[in-house]
């Protein structure tokens, strides 16, 4: 008797493709939030699969803090060209220049929080009614409560205590003018699932994810990249070490891990052995126990 079971990765893939098609069908102006990180790269891959042989029916939106790893931007532009995708950039620098936001000061200053305003402005400017994101429920405790289709009011706010129930695979994307949805097709994936999928599908990633030599410094148990806009405290000093990124975001809050892994198999081995979550290296989550919940309520990714 033949075995009609999908393996768990194929089931997750099928679920994500289903969600992406649902977005294209239910919304008039969807967009895919592209950070240059592995999760959004996987989303692009899944989108190509979902609409093959047509091209991806929505643009990629990058909220650019200006504090990027150069490699991530190069990778982004190559990817857009290769898959004939459309790219829209929302600039945090522009939000600062036009006075929409005020740059944080001090040693732990980060543009991470400022992104929320730029993101919401970009959504409003282009009248996007659905923003697809690579958020996963295993990442963080507030995200564990997130729906696949997450409703945002006209101020872009999330109301976690008042979410629509989500049943079976029926997704309710109905909304009023000015409201929008955040959609998370890989909600049910874990970090390990993402890496195993990247390996299985042979998905290309920025070099940042693999070991490289970089100037780094140590703060509060996290290695951070040295960069001109990263102020260092007295006593902190930059040194050249072999590191790689576990997540890729804004430089100011992306923690690096000491690693010699230069291929996917080694990275997977490293992740299986590691005892710290990937957000454990996110400086932005450490601000308080509910840091992510608070940012999400305001409209963060």
């Amino acid at each position: 008797m033949k075995d009609y079971n999908l393996t768990h990765l194929r089931e997750l893939e099928s679920e994500a493709i289903y969600i992406l098609r649902e977005v294209a069908a239910q919304f008039e102006r969807p967009a895919l939030l592209f950070s240059g990180g592995k999760d959004s790269i996987v989303l692009v891959h899944l989108s190509r699969k979902a609409f093959y042989p047509a091209s991806i029916p929505f643009p990629l939106v990058h909220i650019d803090t200006g504090h990027n790893f150069a490699e991530a931007i190069t990778f982004r532009d190559d990817l857009v060209k290769k898959f004939n995708a459309r790219l829209i950039v929302g600039s945090v620098q522009e939000s600062i220049d036009t006075g929409r936001v005020v740059e944080e000061k001090g040693i732990n200053a980060s543009r991470n929080v400022l992104q929320t305003v730029t993101l919401l402005d970009t959504i409003e400017k282009h009248k996007f009614d659905a923003a697809i994101g690579g958020g996963r429920r295993d990442e963080e405790k507030a995200r564990a409560k997130e729906r696949f289709f997450s409703h945002r009011d006209e101020f872009g706010q999330w109301d976690p205590k008042n979410q629509r129930p989500e049943l079976w695979n029926i997704f309710n994307g109905k909304k009023r003018m000015g409201e929008h949805f955040r959609v998370f097709p890989i909600s049910n994936w874990t970090e390990m699932d993402v890496w195993q999928y990247i390996l299985r599908e042979n998905i290309e990633l920025p070099e940042l994810y693999f070991t490289h030599e970089r100037e780094v410094f140590f703060r509060d148990g996290i290695w951070l990249a040295a960069a001109p806009f990263m102020a260092m405290k007295p006593g902190e000093k930059a040194e050249k070490l072999n590191v790689r990124c576990r997540t890729v975001g804004d430089i100011s809050c992306t923690g690096l891990v000491l690693s010699t892994a230069d291929n996917l198999e080694d990275i997977i081995r490293e992740i299986a052995a590691t005892r710290v979550t990937e957000r454990g290296g996110r400086y932005d989550d450490r601000r308080s126990d509910a840091a992510m919940e608070d940012r999400k309520k305001e409209g963060y990714f």
Binding site: H8, K49, P53, K161, W168, M192, D193, Q196, I268
Partner: protein, 430 residues
């Protein structure tokens, strides 16, 4: 051995794992959060930073032990009040399976969350406090699992440590539960496990304190519950989700119907009927990004190409030509009402069924079900939040469906309030 170690995470094994989705139901203080914390902790699915955070919080709150329940409380209000507000999803894996837990609160007023968590589950854990035995809420939980079509129920009798791990306690609760089940939940796959979530007995590790219990631990049970019979592999059903038209020179005349197989196994050459057109044609090809497929079965997402040019759009249904779904705008179903604003008899709502959108009027409430006693209450004209009822609805256009007991996907629907856009009810078609 079940614990995950680095060497066992070889990619080859990982790519062969299966997925089990389960939900947990228990009353307040039955130790549900502790049980989930225990599963994650003993299966080594927690990370150091999560552990540290919980250790710090445990000390801060004056707990004597590591407070395992803190692993699952996500939102600020939950940590402050020590309760679970909403459905949260947890993940862990062993070398054999990957698990998704829909963690739902047990408060009486949160039936809607349990229904939500149960809608996608293959198995349900029903938790009973050994000191209280089978109580009214146990019946509610078991019945909801049954109503939502969860084929496997694992009854965990918890806090055995507080009753000297006595076998007679376990046997008594098992007998009480069985007496209820035999009457109303025919055909359920039931298992009973005596545990202590706090101390770890029979959750991941076999208990040294209950030598009289020779069955599997909870984790072994979850790893071996058969899941291959849970989807409908018989009746061919393909709700059309999206029409793919590349409009490029290379694929000039391409017209593919994208969707997820809801039932049966499809092959190129199969005779199919298209609803609502009522026309018969053949499957010419099953397309995927990775190349054409010889067959497609639930829950695969694929694209079907048909032999004939038929006008098909989102919301239509492609089904096996000799095994048709019901096509009707008169629908009987059980519903769970999920909104604070009560349902009104003769009220009009939007309905979503698979990819199909329609409007409907609820023109009869056959009865409201007391899910603790299963008593049928007649002559009601409204339905409050968390109530379950059998209703009749008339839709503006026909739906193409199967009974929920045959196919959980083609047999389910949701109702939406057209003024607020909120999802107000979950429906299981009879």
């Amino acid at each position: 051995m079940t614990a995950t170690t680095e060497t066992e995470f070889s990619s080859k094994a990982y790519l062969n794992m299966q997925l089990l989705r389960f939900t947990t139901a228990g009353s307040v203080d039955d130790g549900k959060s502790t049980l989930i914390g225990r599963l994650l902790y003993d299966s080594k699915s927690l990370f150091e930073d999560q552990l540290d955070a919980v250790k710090r919080a445990s000390v801060q709150k004056g707990s004597e032990h590591l407070n395992l329940a803190l692993f699952t409380d996500g939102l600020r209000a939950e940590r402050e009040q020590g309760i679970t507000i909403d459905v949260a999803y947890r993940y862990f894996a062993t070398p054999n399976r990957k698990f998704i837990i829909a963690d739902t609160p047990g408060h009486i007023q949160y039936t809607r969350n349990m229904v939500t968590g149960a809608s996608t589950a293959n198995a349900a854990i029903v938790l009973i406090d050994a000191r209280n035995g089978v109580i009214e809420q146990t019946y509610r939980h078991a019945f909801l699992a049954y109503l939502l079509g969860i084929p496997h129920i694992v009854v965990c009798i918890n806090k055995m440590d507080l009753l000297e791990y006595r076998q007679d306690v376990f046997e008594k609760i098992k007998a009480d539960f069985n007496a209820f089940v035999e009457k109303v939940l025919p055909g359920e796959d039931l298992r009973f496990i005596p545990i202590s979530a706090l101390k770890g007995d029979n959750v991941v590790k076999p208990s040294q304190n209950m030598p009289w219990y020779t069955g599997s631990t909870l984790l072994e049970t979850l790893e071996t519950i058969p899941i291959d019979k849970d989807l409908d592999m018989v009746h061919q059903r393909f709700p059309v989700q999206y029409v793919i038209r590349p409009e490029s020179d290379e694929f000039h005349d391409y017209r593919g119907y994208a969707g997820r197989i809801a039932g049966g196994i499809f092959h190129p050459g199969d005779e199919v009927m298209v609803f609502p057109a009522g026309l018969q044609t053949k499957i010419e090809r099953i397309d995927t990004f990775d190349g054409p497929a010889d067959e497609a079965f639930p829950p695969m997402s694929v694209t079907l190409l048909l032999a004939d040019d038929i006008d098909i759009s989102r919301g239509d249904m492609i089904a096996g030509a000799y095994d048709l779904p019901k096509a009707s705008s008169e629908i009987d179903c059980m519903i769970c009402w999920m909104n604070p604003k009560p349902m009104q008899l003769n009220g009009k709502y939007a309905v979503k069924h698979n990819s199909r959108d329609a409007r409907c009027v609820i023109d009869a409430i056959s009865y409201v079900l007391n899910i603790s006693t299963l008593e049928q209450i007649q002559n009601r004209t409204s339905l409050a939040m968390n109530e379950i009822a059998r209703i009749h609805l008339r839709t503006t256009k026909p739906l193409f469906f199967d009974p929920y007991t045959t196919n959980r996907q083609t047999g389910s629907l949701i109702l939406i309030d057209e003024a607020t856009n909120e999802t107000v009810a979950a429906g299981m078609i009879l």
